[in-house]
Amino acid sequence: IGEIRRYLRDNNPIRVSRSLRDIAYKVLQVRDSLANRFAREPTISEIAKELNLKREDIVFALDAIQEPVSLFEPIYH
């Protein structure tokens, strides 16, 4: 089981928040290049396929670079 676990992970001390941001920027790049190629907005599956990720993972990652939720409202803390 130690081996399976090592296979699935590499003892990465990096915070997930940072890795999510990295993925999110990649997602945005892929979105732009697919939008150019298809001449339309790509769907989340098309982006997921290109990056070999699950659709759900892409959604989660994108939230890490979420702009202030609404252009009109301050963020409430």
Partner: protein, 146 residues
């Protein structure tokens, strides 16, 4: 492909981000675009924020978020059992806010209505508020030209 989810969370500002990701991840099954996802996230954020700061006035309470998919039609509800809204017509006016002291813009309902394809809100004083919203994926977006 039809599916649903029901989520219960305590009324806390950090759950706004969590609820929005959960609904967006659920919606991902219908294969939306990033723009469509972002519309949903914005609308859910506004609804959950309202439940937290208006419904429960920053205090304790429980928020119920449901989502269901029928084909490419996503329905989302956000329910609180908080103070409710006595004058709904007034509350729905753009720029109306009962909490100007919190720097609220009064644009929450207007945003939900505009970012989603259907929007209804029902409320009863001291019983709570239910916001129900529908997004239909894969539609052209009339009135948006950017």
């Amino acid at each position: 492909m039809d599916n649903y989810m029901k989520l219960e969370i305590p009324s806390k500002s950090q759950n706004e981000a969590f609820a929005r990701i959960t609904v967006a991840a659920f919606a991902a099954q219908a294969d939306p675009t990033i723009d469509e996802i972002s519309d949903i996230k914005t609308a859910v954020s506004e609804a959950v924020t309202n439940a937290v700061i208006h419904g429960y006035e920053g205090g304790d309470g429980t928020i119920y978020v449901t989502a269901s998919l029928a084909g490419r039609r996503l329905e989302v509800t956000v329910v609180d059992h908080g103070v409710g809204i006595t004058d709904l017509d007034q509350a729905r006016q753009p720029l109306f806010t009962s909490k100007p002291e919190l720097d609220r813009s009064g644009m929450g309902f207007t945003i939900m209505e505009n970012f989603m394809d259907e929007f209804t809100v029902t409320s009863e004083t001291d019983k709570g508020t239910t916001v129900s919203m529908v997004k239909i994926f894969g539609q052209a977006e009339p009135g948006l030209d950017d």
